[in-house]
């Protein structure tokens, strides 16, 4: 049997489906989990929507750049909720002490990761789609008006969120639930540096190279390009994609190394704090 055939046999879509089914059963059985998905993005959007409304009345520039803040909030939520959706599904295994069952089963790490990625999209769609409709109804901001650019933004933001989610899951696996807070807060490290609400030129010159080393920066700049200058720059998205490939590879590599380390230290049978 060739190495390629062995890999093909090793991968099982059924195991990925099993994990997705497990998270779907969980979501379906718990209305607080479903409400939580929609609650915070709604609060964020409404708050920033009113701020934008106020600023637009006072400043000519923002009157021309209508929707920049709401657009930024919605795209930030894709990034933040994408990572959180990934990490929370993973944390559910730690909270329920099920991780040992999974690690002892034929489930491969990359099948587990694929299932977590798929569930982060499902959770995101449940949380963010209703909020985009509310933004349209309350503030007349149509995120879908971004057209194909939105697809490029979404894809790039999801790739970053998965890369970060994978790495954080590895940290929790290796260090136990003591590292859980990272899953909730790590994305806020990206918030000032990726220039969610302001252009990169706002940052001091020495900090700008760091901002341009982070894929979401290209997405938020791209969004402002469309909403303010009405021009889409595909090169920004390609640069983001190239950086995301690096981030994703680094996240997956980190996860596998942390998993190996967890096997060495016995962390897989001591998944407490």
């Amino acid at each position: 049997m060739t190495a390629r055939a062995e890999v093909a046999i090793a991968f099982s879509p059924r195991r990925v489906a099993a994990m997705m089914l497990r998270y779907w059963y969980l979501l379906r059985s718990s209305w607080p989990r479903l409400v939580e998905l929609v609650y915070w993005p709604t609060v964020q959007m409404i708050t920033w929507g009113f701020i934008q409304y106020y600023v637009m009345q006072k400043a000519g520039f923002f009157a021309r750049a209508g929707g920049t803040l709401i657009g930024a909030v919605l795209l930030w939520d894709i990034l933040f909720r994408g990572q959180l959706g990934f990490s929370i599904s993973f944390l559910e295994e730690m909270w329920s002490r099920n991780i040992g069952n999974l690690m002892m089963s034929p489930l491969r790490p990359f099948e587990f990761i694929l299932a977590l990625m798929a569930m982060s999209v499902v959770r995101l769609l449940i949380g963010v789609v209703p909020v985009t409709l509310l933004a349209l109804a309350f503030f007349g901001f149509n995120l879908y008006g971004l057209g194909l650019a939105l697809v490029a933004f979404f894809f790039n933001l999801m790739l970053t969120s998965w890369a970060v989610g994978i790495f954080v899951s590895g940290l929790v696996l290796r260090n136990g639930l003591g590292a859980e807070n990272l899953a909730w807060t790590i994305m806020f490290f990206f918030m000032p540096l990726t220039c969610v609400y302001y252009p990169v030129t706002t940052l001091p010159a020495w900090l700008q190279p760091l901002a341009w080393a982070l894929p979401p920066t290209y997405v938020f700049e791209g969004m402002r390009g469309i909403l303010i200058d009405h021009s889409f720059h595909p090169t920004l998205m390609l640069d983001a994609l190239a950086l995301n490939a690096l981030f994703f590879a680094a996240g997956a590599f980190g996860f596998l190394k942390l998993l190996q380390s967890a096997r060495r230290t016995g962390a897989l049978i001591q998944t407490g704090e």
């Binding site: 497990r22 969980l26 002490r97 002892m104 034929p106 096997r263 060495r264 897989l268």
Partner: protein
């Protein structure tokens, strides 16, 4: 030619930082046998079982399971083995049926509804199948964990304290069931337990561990004879208190 061992451990060592949990353990377990792993708290039983399952990598030495070296080649054999342990639980919000369905899919079970029906009848779980796993009593949870560990009809079954939270009647029933399963499927069973009468009844061989090492390894009858005792519990106490076979027999 004798059959290849189901499990073979060679000079297995596991050191956590500077603390040796398992210290040069070697044993071989024949297919179709039922072996008890005995020892006090911290004797190294759980670490040994975790290394057999591939959850922990040995510091040195090697362990092969159904011909595959663990943990390096674990994916060659994980589909043919399973385990039950108090260190893991099933997701509580999912019903028993949902849990078993998910694990059936993970283990590649062909006809999952039929297998769940079969296990439900065999382990007296039929009435519980549509209840959330978190709403069950400790004894019911143990039976559900057992059902999960049998979902793929494993050739190798690793059980860590399988009857710890069961009442005597249910525990006895589970033991009979395990005996039948082993006989009918020619499965290999490794059982870590503090319940000496359970080990005495079920196991044809007992490995006694202490401070990460194997202190004794024999059939229950020979252990009783060598230590001059009437029960395995007395043998266990002799080992735990550092009396060797000759001293104990005097």
């Amino acid at each position: 030619m004798p059959a290849a061992p189901a499990i073979e451990a060679q000079r297995l060592v596991k050191i956590y930082k500077t603390v040796p949990a398992v210290d040069g353990v070697s044993f071989s377990i024949a297919p179709g046998s039922i072996v008890g792993l005995l020892g006090g708290n911290g004797a190294g039983k759980t670490t040994t079982i975790a290394m057999i399952m591939g959850l922990i990598a040995p510091t040195s030495g090697r362990v092969t399971v159904l011909g595959a070296e663990m943990p390096r080649q674990r994916y060659q054999v994980l589909q043919r083995m399973n385990f039950e342990s108090p260190y893991v639980e099933m997701p509580m919000r999912l019903t028993v049926r949902q849990n078993l369905t998910v694990f059936g899919m993970l283990y590649g079970v062909p006809d999952i509804p039929a297998r769940i029906r079969e296990l439900g009848e065999a382990l007296d779980l039929t009435e519980l199948l549509d209840r959330p796993a978190g709403k069950l009593s400790a004894g019911q949870k143990t039976r559900v964990s057992l059902a999960k560990s049998l979902i793929n009809t494993p050739e190798l079954l690793l059980l860590d304290e399988p009857t710890a939270s069961l009442d005597p009647d249910t525990a006895d029933w589970v033991r009979s069931w395990l005996e039948r399963y082993r006989r009918n499927r020619h499965a290999t069973v490794v059982l870590a337990s503090h319940n000496m009468s359970e080990v005495e009844r079920l196991c044809e061989r007992v490995i006694i561990m202490k401070q990460g090492r194997i202190e004794d390894d024999d059939t229950p009858a020979r252990l009783l004879a060598h230590y001059g005792r009437h029960t395995l519990e007395e043998v266990f106490l002799d080992v735990a208190r550092g009396r060797d076979r000759r001293e104990a027999a005097q």
